[in-house]
């Protein structure tokens, strides 16, 4: 049953050194505020899992929090490379980073299998790809009915998953809307889970009987952090801060500049600072 914590308590209690951690969000709802708290609390030796590691993971890796990354696409979306990720892989700075690399289909199936309590997933994938050659966690099994060779990957089972969402009610039930990515699977696959939300409300809206709601008893902690997905976005609250994604390319190219930025904007900052960060929505332009 989720308890309502503040963010620093939630991270202190549920994220440990050496944990396997998934902070998910498929471009949308990326839990930046929670990730920054993990950095501030100086967690080390994390195995980070994410389909699309972007700026947040670049920051964690650049600060030396991770020993391993399991992923399927690592870039600054729409902009280019992740310079801190590349520096870690290509030059071992600030520490070497082990990688386990999949395709999106492989990761999505592995999250699904984790949520489903399975030891592995099977799917039609990795045919003819060198990924199967470099990743020993990609195997092939035979369909017992047709004889077809099918790819198999181990289920993802994080020690802790962290997501950001729109709303929680006072019991700790969490509503996720829009591009929902693999957040539900990440929570259900994990031993422990933390959700930051834009707001805690008396009652979740009842727009649809099939809304994506994570019941309180699937979460360890729920905490309100308005703006907590910035510079990504929260559908219904604020848009993506595209200009920050472009700025990051410049900030992250240089080790010193990166460290200085992290000092000011993460180490000396607080979860409450996120409320003021999201940009105002631009005027809608339609074709």
């Amino acid at each position: 049953m989720a308890e309502i914590f503040n963010l620093s308590e939630a991270v202190a209690r549920f994220v440990n050194d050496g944990d396997i951690v998934a902070m998910e969000g498929f471009t949308h709802l990326i839990p930046f505020a929670a990730g920054h708290e993990v950095i501030r609390q100086k967690r080390r030796d994390l195995t980070l899992i994410r389909m699309t590691p972007d700026i947040l993971y670049d920051q964690l890796i650049g600060m030396g929090a991770a020993r391993k990354l399991i992923f399927s696409w690592g870039g600054n979306p729409g902009v280019g490379s992740l310079h801190r990720l590349r520096d870690a892989i290509e030059r071992g700075w600030p520490r070497p980073l082990e990688i386990e690399e999949h395709s999106h289909a492989g990761m999505a199936n592995a999250f699904e299998a984790g949520a489903a309590g399975m030891p592995c997933a099977i799917f039609r994938g990795y045919q003819g790809s060198d990924l199967a050659r470099v990743n020993p966690n990609i195997k092939f099994v035979t369909c017992p009915f047709t004889g077809e060779q099918l790819a198999s990957v181990p289920a993802i089972r994080p020690d802790v998953s962290i997501i950001h969402a729109q709303k929680a009610d006072r019991a700790g039930n969490v509503l996720v809307e829009g591009i929902v990515g693999v957040q539900k699977e990440a929570v259900l696959a994990a031993r422990r889970a933390i959700a930051t939300v834009e707001e805690i409300v008396d009652q979740l809206p009842t727009r649809s009987p099939n809304a994506v709601v994570l019941p309180s008893w699937t979460l360890s902690a729920v905490t309100a952090v308005p703006g907590g997905a910035h510079p990504s976005y929260t559908h219904g609250y604020y848009p993506r801060d595209n200009s920050f994604y472009i700025e990051w390319d410049e900030i992250s190219r240089d080790r010193e500049k990166f460290l200085a930025w992290m000092q000011t904007n993460v180490l000396e900052a607080h979860p409450e600072d996120f409320a003021a960060r999201p940009p105002l929505r631009r005027i809608e332009i339609t074709a």
């Binding site: 498929f26 471009t27 949308h28 389909m51 699309t52 992923f71 399927s72 696409w73 690592g74 870039g75 979306p77 729409g78 902009v79 490379s81 992740l82 990720l85 590349r86 892989i89 290509e90 690399e101 999949h102 395709s103 999106h104 289909a105 492989g106 999505a108 199936n109 999250f111 699904e112 799917f123 039609r124 994938g125 990795y126 045919q127 003819g128 790809s129 060198d130 990924l131 470099v134 077809e148 829009g178 591009i179 929902v180 990515g181 693999v182 539900k184 699977e185 994506v212 976005y233 559908h235 848009p239 993506r240 595209n242 200009s243 994604y245 472009i246 631009r282 332009i285 339609t286 074709a287």
Partner: protein, 258 residues
Amino acid sequence: MSYTSSEMMTVAAARAVSNDDICFVGIGLPSAACNLARLTHAPRVTLIYESGTLETRPGVLPLSIGDPELCETALTTVAVPEMFRYWLQGGRITLGFLGGAQVDRFGNLNSTVIGDYAKPKVRLPGSGGATEIATSCGKTFIIMRHNPRSLVAQVDFVTSMGHGRSGVERQALGVKTQGPALLVTDLCIMTPDAATNEFVVASIHPGVTRERIQENTGWPVRFAQTVTETAAPTNVELQALRELNDRTARAHGVAASD
């Protein structure tokens, strides 16, 4: 109207998209081409982005695969595991658009590393959806800028199989889908030879010479028996593309198609 080679490339790719296609769209050049098709000759084309947005109609080009615009204009949005299982692997997608850092003559694509995998010279973003887009879509179109670092004799890493290292592996593996059916660059259009699966030049963009194509290609280029000249972009096409890019630039502060 005059036009750039980039515009020629996007227009040529857009023309290959039809009203009946259900497209799995990547960010960047594929997204520009598919949306240009939708805004010109193929208004009923179905666009799907791997973030889960089904039948999306963005007014501006998305900067990322999960921009709000994609979800807000979609018929509905599904979770990512469902997208890869029901929609892509389920065989619902007729056309996948792919790019990459390197392509070889058999349409094998590398978006993983330049150099050795364990000691990369350049670490690229990796597969994303590409590995299974290449095998699960009915067919794939590849769109890339034409230069000898991109069109190479051997890709450093096969992220996404085209027809395989020697052009026969795809069939040998029993993959049922067609694979690479078109390679559009800023110089020409290539299609696979029916016998060997090797990309051969089928159409050359106006003003481009065969020599320039060869100089910019990392393998000995073959030309089809009949090579046509690509029709220059029409005013209608150029205007639609430029308006799309303008709207995009105003919305993002950056031109997403370039």
